[in-house]
């Protein structure tokens, strides 16, 4: 019996070894007709989140416009994330989202929940083919899974060429189904965080109080419908441009289960950390324009996006890439991006405990008023075997803003801290 088992294992090992040795050649043969782009990104925020993300994108042209494209993305992140609470003149203690344990925040510091940790795997597949002369169809599937979140999306689009293929009109549709199951459950909207300061006689008393702030029913899904109309136009031998307009309708659970709004007394002292609540529907619309111009020694890529939604967030994004040929087969590409947004109507940095709670409120800086810029530089080089190697560095800085406070306890405290991040990406295409 034991011998038989060993025999089986040795057969398996031999088979695996053969696959590795012979498979190298086979794999090379199989990948011959594929375009493969790979990249690894290392992302680091000052004192907050750090992440690592890998992408493999494979595209194969089966001829006559039949194209398959697949993408695998794996990322892992950990670190600290602002939970929305106010800094205070004294040190603060808060419960972790799971209810298990607490974290301390020093006096005058922004409370950061340092238990943030997740790994995500995303797979995309897209098939494109002609339907008739100058008309193409494309359909795709998107799957994304992380510890407390999963998403499935389908998309379909049609593109029609006109004017000797100089003009392309397209229409696309996408439907995404997301499911949210946060660690520690979804808090009851606008309930107060239970913090064990020694007031509970037993552990069970604490857990009873904690469980009373958790939802046992209600919406834990989110559905997103996107519709995009696009126009691509070749202007002349050196200039191509694109315009997209789109609408997006989101319904379901959009509250961030880890975020709170601090309730303060009339002096600015925290009296409660109250879980946020966001509307369960959001309608968005955007306009996007991009131009790419081939100059003598460089290629300019300029884009602009305007977006607005019924939460009150309007945003402008301006982005520029300029690819300079360094002669031979290498290039240098500076990148600049500027972003600004207005705050959601229900964004508020804190809540006065003497006033009634609104239906919706959030102190999440990501839906507050902000501006951000990115500066980056990419170097790419085509190797002798035709493969391409690239290295990219980006620096991102986000500045939040909002009304200042004249409450004495908040005097001199940083209510809208900056977020700074740097990322480095290594790419290889073959």
């Amino acid at each position: 019996m034991q011998l038989g088992k060993h025999k089986k294992i040795s057969h398996l090992l031999s088979a695996a070894a053969c696959t590795l040795v012979g498979g190298g050649v086979q794999a090379e043969e199989m990948l011959k007709d594929w375009d493969i782009d790979t990249a690894v990104l290392i992302y680091n925020e000052t004192d907050r989140v750090s992440a690592m993300e890998g992408v493999v994108q494979a595209t194969k042209d089966f001829g006559e416009g039949h194209i398959f494209s697949g993408k695998l993305v794996v990322d892992s992140l950990s670190g600290a994330s602002a939970n929305g609470a106010l800094p205070q003149p004294e040190a603060q203690t808060m419960s972790r989202p799971s209810g298990k344990g607490q974290f301390e925040t020093a006096a005058a510091e922004t409370p950061l929940d340092d238990t943030f940790k997740d790994t995500r795997v995303q797979i995309n597949g897209q098939w494109t083919q002609p339907l008739m002369t100058d008309l193409r169809a494309s359909g795709g599937l998107h799957l994304s899974k992380e510890f407390d979140y999963q998403s499935i999306a389908i998309n379909g689009s049609l593109a029609k060429d006109f004017n000797r293929k100089n003009t392309t009109l397209s229409v696309g549709f996408s439907q995404a189904f997301d499911q949210i199951s946060p660690h520690g459950g979804r808090p009851v909207a606008l309930s107060d965080m239970v913090i064990d300061s020694g007031q509970f006689a037993t552990d069970q008393d604490y857990w009873d109080a904690f469980d009373a702030t958790r939802q046992t029913a209600g919406e834990d899904t989110k559905n997103t419908t996107d519709l995009v109309l696009g126009l691509t136009q070749i202007i002349n031998r050196r200039w191509i441009t694109q315009f997209n307009v789109g609408i997006s309708d989101v319904s379901g659970y959009m509250t961030d289960p880890f975020k709170v709004v601090t309730q303060v007394d009339d002096q600015g002292n925290a009296v409660a950390q109250t879980y946020e609540n966001r509307p369960d529907s959001r309608s968005k619309a955007f306009f996007f324009a991009q131009s790419k111009v081939h100059l003598d020694k460089n290629i300019l890529d300029l884009s602009y996006r305007y977006s607005q939604d019924d939460w009150g967030i309007d945003s402008h994004t301006l982005e520029l890439r300029d690819r300079f040929s360094l002669g031979g087969k290498s290039y240098l590409q500076p990148h600049l991006r500027y972003y600004q947004q207005t705050a959601a109507d229900f964004y508020q940095r804190y809540q006065l405990s003497s006033t009634a709670l609104p239906d919706y409120m959030s102190a999440d800086y990501r839906i507050g008023e902000m501006s951000a810029y990115t500066m980056g530089l990419k170097y790419g080089r085509e190797l002798e075997n035709g493969h391409e190697f690239s290295l990219r560095f980006e620096y991102y800085q986000q500045s939040s803003s909002g009304p200042s406070s004249d409450l004495p306890a908040l005097n001199g405290l940083e209510l809208y801290p900056e977020v700074k991040a740097a990322f480095l990406q290594l790419g290889y295409s073959f």
């Binding site: 990322d75 031998r237 315009f243 880890f258």
Partner: protein
């Protein structure tokens, strides 16, 4: 309301653009520069995927180039 404004904006932009488009463009033999892979509008595909993920998790709006796709719980 947002959809109505978007529709009006789209019509206002697309109608004159489409009318003008027929006068624009190149002949097939003039596509030497446009045919380069770096002239594709999504030539930086992998970079854009990674950037979108960063900005999606840090800012209140996202998308534009294509579908935003499914979400993620990124904080």
């Amino acid at each position: 309301m947002i959809y109505l404004r978007t529709a009006s904006l789209t019509a206002a932009l697309l109608i004159p653009l489409l009318a003008g488009c027929s006068h624009l463009g190149v002949s097939p033999w003039e596509r030497d520069l446009l045919a380069k892979s770096e002239m594709n509008l999504d030539a930086e595909g992998v970079d854009l995927t990674l950037d979108d993920h960063v900005y999606f998790s840090k800012e209140g709006t996202s998308g534009g180039r294509a579908f935003a796709g499914g979400g993620c719980g990124c904080n």
